[in-house]
Amino acid sequence: MTWKTTLAATTIAVALLSGGAAWAAAPAAYDITPDLIAAAKKDGTVVWYTATDLTVAEKLAAEFEAEYPGVKVQVERSGSERVFQRIGQEQMSGIHNADIIETSDAVNFIYFKQQGWLEPAVPKIVADEWPDDQKDPDGQFAAYRAHLSVMAYRTDLLKDVEPPKTWEDLLKPEYKGRMVKAHPGYSGTIMTATGVLSNLLGWEWFEKLGQQDVMQVQSSTEPPKKLAEGERAIQVDGNEYNIFRLQDQGVPVQIVYPPEGTPIAIGNAGILKDAPHPDAAKLYYAYLYSTKAQQLNSDFGGLRSFNPDVQEKEGRTPLSQIKLLESDPSELIKQVQTIKQKYEQYFGT
């Protein structure tokens, strides 16, 4: 009951916010100092609720532990909406397990902020380097990563037909039974993507796609893995970074950036109020935005970064050359129910 009422309240608050929020002062930026490191070691652990691909998240955590021995990272990975559900349940019952939360659904953070669950904190690098539209003016969260939800295919499994080039191409009969797709009810990335694509292409496009015998999976990390298994030849949507990682492993997959545009999902991160390990949280939070971590995200994880010092791997199409479909979280939050309902109507689940 509280969930729904608060959602309604949030929607109103979002409307108000976007109308012209007061520029409340963000706290002064902080840097990683020996004092902070010492305090973090006293905490000993940092609990990170994340929606980043598990291997990437664990790798980042391991690098951190190597750099700051004495501080362990507990990685709790789930799909964005599951992370959201879990943190909601915990906050409602007064449980404070998590230090840092990070999901790929920007709507989540509007909600967190509205609920007052976030602790303002601005690492120096975010204050100095991040573009203004990729950080909260009140310093409660900032864009930790971004990734595209891309169309992609297995080159070796699609030899008999011309590969798709546009979104409309996917409706062609030759692709029937050969596609896999993730679910907006589970994945924040796909919710964002479904929102912008339904605006761009209309629901008729989804209705027709629903008749193409599409394999339905949950997380946006999963379609690339179905391509890797060879279970399907084309992914309608799914994380770009997982495709990059497959390419690095030598799996013959090819990304398609249709001329109509490709949806982008912004993954924010923030420190939770009442975090059980506040100093370790601050240290890890600052670490997440450091050039080193962001470069690792890019190299190993294939994630896009807002840190201008990060160098993209060769062979990857730079963001500047891709037509991006950006989503407005305050608009999206109003469409969530419609999207889910329409989706079930056309795809069965």
Partner: protein
């Protein structure tokens, strides 16, 4: 012992049955009624708090909801029939014939029982996904067919029924095999002496005697399937349809529709009650006491020329339910990507390395899983035994209520119970959410019906005459229970303990709502890994889970205190 002078003293001694009954009734009452109360409350209230029937109106007018129900019911019925068809012949073969290797077969069936259904579903995904499934790849390679051809597609309704059946039939098997063990040879001898042929005896004497176990087993299978979450989530969602549990789960996606979810769970309750009534009606008032003070050893039927066809049947069942799935898990654990062929050049231990060293959740989850398994199994076995004793022996008036309370949770799908428990215990009064205690409560509640059903059906099989003899000779009720009744029930209690232990390892639907970072279980991390498609890691975790739980079940069955070796000894005391 037969000191008549002691008798009057004993009569005056306070009977502990009444206080035990009251305590148990209260305890079970809270356990069962509290979550149910919240469910009902939520189903008839608006978010704002006012009374409404809107949720039920939406339930019966919403096509997607009705379709999910229809599919779930058809699926459960299919699973029930399939389980019974697989389990009954197999149980007869291993219990009452000279089938080659029947001990090993029995052990392997236990293995498929230990397999959590969601893991089985994942294994069958690896085997029979239309394009990448191992069986389909082999089939295409053998016959040189194009990629579009496939022999099996597991992402279909029959595929789902098949997979759930494969990992649910051991419920029927164990019950029926135990019942076959207990059928007294003298009744069959009587039939033979009166001129009945082997087939007649089987049909007219033996089968009717095991019918209660068959029905009880099939009922468990149907209810398991109806309320199962993991396998449908893994197989039905890719196929593009919902069953009722996945549908209810989807109602918890943000923003959660708790009222509708609660209302959607109500028909499950009704269906279950109807099924249980149906079972009663079929069994009627017939008596099925098979374990009296005097009975001969079960007879073994010589199969003759049918030995090898029967063996082939058993082997076939085992291939589908144990051997192929395990090989698929093992193979996938050893190759980089699930679709890769296993060759000396592709073989890798990277998934093992990841799970054992890189993946921070592994150790905690394994620890939690097994601690909870032990605690839940022991609690359920003790409670079920006392309840079954009080209820079947009708020690106090209204004892039937206890049996009802112990059976009632069967009607609550795990996922709904999870919500009910969350609403009941995750508040400032209890603050159990985030601890393993809320999971313990969930597991005990979920598993109590299965444990109780087994132990109480075993109680029905023990004629009170032995207890009466003990009581007449001056033993107290507890002493009788301890010295006479429990030794005869030992196999059933051990079986029930194992059922519950394995049940907690298989449980996913309530667990998924109740775990937090510090209380995660292996089932949940496997589910999370499946959602992100990390097949290799799943297979490694699954294999670890299987090996450890198999060892536990094996050890428990071998413990001398618990009547090791599985043989029933009735000569104690």
């Amino acid at each position: 012992m037969t000191d008549a002078v002691l008798m009057p003293e004993r009569v005056r001694r306070i009977d502990v049955s009444v206080p035990v009954f009251v305590l148990l009734a209260l305890g079970l009452g809270v356990l069962v009624i509290l979550p149910l109360f919240w469910l009902v409350w939520y189903s008839v209230h608006e978010d704002a708090g006012g009374f409404t029937l809107g949720n039920f109106v939406q339930l019966v007018t919403d096509d997607t909801m009705l379709r999910a129900y229809g599919i779930a019911i058809a699926m459960a019925a299919g699973v029930g029939v399939l389980s019974c068809l697989l389990a009954t012949p197999l149980a007869w073969l291993v219990a009452r014939t000279d089938l080659p290797g029947r001990r090993a077969i029995r052990a392997l069936v236990t293995a498929s029982f230990v397999t959590p259904p969601f893991l089985g579903a994942i294994a069958w995904e690896l085997l029979a996904a239309p394009n990448s499934g191992i069986i389909n790849v082999l089939y295409r390679t053998l016959f040189g067919l194009p990629r579009s051809d496939s022999l099996f597609n597991i992402y279909t309704f029959p595929g789902l029924v098949f997979v759930i059946g494969c990992f649910t039939y051991p419920f029927v098997f164990t019950l029926v095999a135990n019942a076959f063990d207990r059928v007294p040879g003298d009744l069959e001898d009587a039939s033979a002496i009166l001129g009945g042929r082997a087939a007649t005896t089987l049909w007219r004497v033996t089968l009717p005697l095991v019918l209660p176990s068959m029905l009880a087993g099939t009922l468990i299978a149907v209810l398991q399937a109806l309320t199962m979450f993991g396998s449908p989530a893994i197989l039905a969602l890719p196929a593009g349809f919902h069953v009722i549990t996945t549908k209810i789960w989807s109602l918890f996606q943000f923003p959660p529709q708790l009222g509708l979810a609660a209302a959607a769970a109500m028909p499950l309750l009704v269906i279950t009650v109807l099924l249980l009534r149906g079972q009663k009606a079929i069994l009627g008032r017939r008596g099925y006491t098979v374990l009296g003070g005097k009975s001969g050893a079960p007879r073994i039927v010589a199969l003759g020329a049918w030995r090898w066809p029967a063996f082939a049947f058993a082997l076939f069942v085992l291939c589908l339910t144990v051997i192929f799935p395990y090989l698929a898990l093992l193979k996938t654990a050893l190759v980089p990507n699930a679709g890769d062929a296993l060759t000396p050049s592709t073989i890798t231990l990277s998934h093992f390395h990841f799970v054992l060293f890189d993946f921070s959740a592994t150790r905690l989850a394994l620890y939690n899983t097994f601690v909870l398994g032990f605690l839940s199994a022991t609690t359920v076995a003790v409670v079920a035994m006392i309840v079954a004793y009080i209820a079947t022996r009708k020690l106090v008036r209204g004892a039937g209520i206890l049996g009802m309370l112990a059976t009632a949770p069967v009607a609550i799908p795990g996922i709904v119970l999870g919500v009910g428990l969350f609403l009941s215990y995750a508040n400032p009064t209890f603050q159990l959410y985030g601890t393993i205690w809320i999971l313990l409560i969930a597991f005990v509640t979920i598993e109590l019906p299965a444990g109780y059903q087994q132990i109480s059906s075993a109680f029905h099989g023990v004629h009170p005459e032995l207890e009466e003899a003990s009581r007449i000779l001056g033993a107290s009720r507890l002493k009788t229970l301890w010295l006479i009744t429990s030794p005869m029930l030992r196999t059933s209690v051990v079986a029930a303990w194992c059922f519950v232990f394995v049940g907690t390892i298989r449980e996913l639907s309530a667990t998924i709502l109740l775990t937090t970072a510090n209380t995660k279980l292996v089932s949940v991390i496997i589910y999370d890994l499946n959602e992100s498609g990390d097949m290799g890691a799943i297979c490694v975790l699954g294999l670890i889970l299987l090996v450890v739980s198999f060892l536990v079940v094996f050890a428990v069955n071998r413990m001398p205190v618990l009547g090791g070796g599985g043989s029933v000894s009735t000569t104690r005391g």
